[in-house]
Symmetry: C3
Subunit: 353 residues, 3 copies
């Protein structure tokens, strides 16, 4: 992605400030500017991954990638837009494992006949996603089955499950960064001679931080213009929440995961894609539930609609199958993308409530 | 199966023409005549499999086996019998992975302590089935959740998902026949010395074509008499659609898959059983939806009833577990057959609507 | 666990006889007395496991552990308390695979970086659990979809599925004890030099029998006081059925499975935990359904409530993922325990119906 595209960053900022009504133009320039930034972020992440193992590198990447989403969601929370926040959470979980991982496996599979990744780490991540699905399904089932019988039950369940998820996420970090980091490190990472000259640690961190800030800034502008732009094209609210914002918000992961796959570093690619979904489900979502007790007009619960839950469920089921044998090929990418497309069709055909 | 049973073929055809009211007699003679034909079809398929790899042989087999079902379903479609078509689709998917694969694993496991098959190909096929379940569940969920809010939504979703399925099926063929055929080829296939003298390619194709045509002819006679015969025995419509027609319609796959398993060629056995389910779900079903736009009194959608969807779901879940480790034993056969039996009991106890 | 705690056994029995109103005291002393007994039971089981393979040892253990539950459930059945029996069945299935296996994997994982177990046996057990879930879900789905259309349908389905389950369980015993016992035997079991002097067969059986009888006796006292004790602490009926009785009733498995895990005998640990769940689902539950035709005011069916079914479903799904790759670490234990905790929170917040 050529660096001169970076010039669209100032353009987006200027347009947003001086001509805020030109949604489609602002949207397009912010989106274009993000692409080279995401490329640089990917390069910095790869440099850090070389130092610290691919799992840690992927986790750093997922952390920085989701910082933008957390900031944006907190803004939406303050505005009381719980439905948008929930749609964005689901869209981010689903988008990372179906669209990002699917595109990475397809791109990697078109170049290599077969690619391998650390089976143990991938299975641990897939189990983490299953745990997340269970944590999101139980409150909804509770609401249907117990419902109004116990005032305050839904809120108490949402808050306590959020605390459980945060504790499990903390233990997952301990596991993947401290006690068992080798599970998330590719076997051939150190043999990979593609990187000509390694950056210093300071260089890597500086590029990472600068790109993150810039992407975060542009992401907010982008998201602010996504909805009016989308509506101008006749799309509904829930579709925008689940699909459009997620694709934009995860552009960084998208680009980095595909780059890693094309360089035959599938461990890094999986860590980015699945790790990002894990972080949204086990960290961002519970933090937003707890934060809603302090900011915003009313507390947000963990009750997701049936359509959103079904989307997360099918995405996690097929991801578990695809990630379960430590190898990938282009057909796996096609399978994940097909599920994403089917979900997209169903949400696209859902009229505004 | 002795060849003299072939004489029941002309008997069935003659009875059907001259004494069409003797349903049970026609049914029995057609069924008996199919057995040796299926045996010859299996032998021809094995000969072709020896030339082209077991995956391709299994796929050829599944294609020829399902040609009959497609013809019969098109006839039912023209008559507007959507419920029968859908029940037959589900019965065929479920029957191939539970009854055919279960019987093959049981028969093979009674002869060999443990049998192995190509893990990667089996997992790819299991993921394809999961994709099919998702594609069948989403329209039903859409119908429940969105329902009448958007006129035309269900039909648009059915047609667009059908197109996605056909595209994915085409890519699966490219994958299994062209880019990655070795995943569907048994490691020990070439070492198997049981075949005394190989047939020529022309001989194999001739036997395959002749048996297919004969089975197709007899299958139509068989299916035409199945319903009155079954009702004479006190069975309901939906049970006949899901179980009786599926068992008859898949007799060829059944016989060939068991023969392959007993000869310790589990890769061929799995390709036939799972491959046939994949073909029905990803090729026959969408083709019928699209064909219904041209033939028949009204278009058919992809909306399956909850009972049918649950049957497909549980069948695919347990098949994924059984096929996921590249080995089989007799207990796996028992487990698959037990699920088939439980589903059969539930449908058997369902009264006619 | 020090042996002098055994003195609490006579204390519990005496209190139960002479001061039956002191529920909490009786409960506490019976629970304390069970702990050393469970330890001795575990040691006797390990001795037998050394002789007969870990799978058989685990099965013996699961049989003796569940004998108490069967006796208690029969008493509840005679009293017509079908809801309590069903809650206990679900709690026992869920508790063994989430709490017992989770605690064992956590305890083992804190001592060993990674532990391995026989992949084939664990997968066979996980598939058996999936079969059990299907057998429990189908009657409930039948009831919702067919319902009152066919009088007697639910009872006929419950009885026939119970017979299928018993037949499959018998075949599973043949498989694990007779035709394929090595699948359930740990690779390193014979190399394990921790046991100083082996007991004689007579000694092992004597200790096993004595501990089983004592635990059975105390378990009944314990269960008799669990409900009033629990209510005194403000807990509801269903929570007590699913969680409190299950934890107490499976204390023996709990202790033995953790001891085995800490001694790096994960095959024994899995056989105990998953084997016990299998036995409850495929043996205890159908036996109770059939027994209810002879004892009790009215026959019990296999229809479980949606909340109970969802609990079993999510427990089996995550267990399948955790047990599917033949290795464990402390994070897997945390994941299983987190699901147990989430289910516990949901049932805890469910008010008495």
């Amino acid at each position: 992605m050529p660096n001169w595209l970076l010039v669209f960053g100032p353009v987006a900022i200027a347009l947003n400030h001086f001509a805020p009504g030109h949604y489609a133009l602002i949207f397009a320039s912010a989106a274009i500017a993000i692409l080279p930034l995401a490329g640089w972020l990917g390069r910095a992440t790869e440099q850090l991954a070389d130092r610290s193992g691919e799992g840690v590198g992927g986790l750093l990447n997922a952390t920085f990638g989701n910082a933008a989403e957390l900031i944006i969601s907190l803004a939406a929370l303050r505005a009381g837009l719980h439905d948008v926040v929930k749609a964005t959470i689901v869209g981010s979980i689903v988008g990372n494992i179906l669209l990002v991982l699917g595109a990475a496996m397809l791109a990697g599979g078109l170049r290599y006949r077969e690619q391998s990744f650390n089976l143990v780490g991938a299975r641990a991540e897939a189990t983490m996603l299953t745990l997340a699905v269970i944590a999101l399904v139980i409150p909804a089932a509770y609401s249907v089955l117990v419902g109004g019988q116990y005032a305050g039950g839904e809120r108490a369940l949402s808050i306590s499950i959020s605390l459980v998820l945060l504790a499990v996420y903390a233990m997952f970090l301990v596991f993947s960064l401290w006690t068992h980091p080798t599970f998330f490190r590719g076997a051939k990472a150190s043999e990979n001679g593609e990187q000509a000259q390694p950056w210093t640690l300071a260089q890597s961190l500086l590029v990472l931080a600068a790109c993150t800030v810039a992407i975060a800034w542009l992401s907010e502008i982008l998201v602010g213009t996504v909805e009016p732009t989308a509506h101008a094209f006749g799309l509904s609210n829930i579709f925008v929440g689940v699909f459009v914002i997620a694709i934009i918000g995860n552009a960084a992961e998208h680009s980095t995961a595909i780059t890693a796959a094309v360089r035959n570093r599938m461990d890094l690619s999986l860590s980015i894609a699945i790790g990002s979904s894990i972080q949204v489900a086990l960290f961002v979502a519970p933090v937003l539930v707890l934060a809603s007790l302090l900011v915003g007009p009313q507390p947000m619960d963990l009750l997701f609609g049936k359509g959103l839950l079904l989307a997360v469920f099918v995405a996690v089921v097929i991801t578990g199958q695809v990630a379960g044998d430590g190898r990938s090929d282009w057909l796996k990418g096609v399978q994940l993308l097909a599920v994403y497309l089917i979900l997209g069709l169903a949400f696209y055909l859902t009229p505004q409530a």
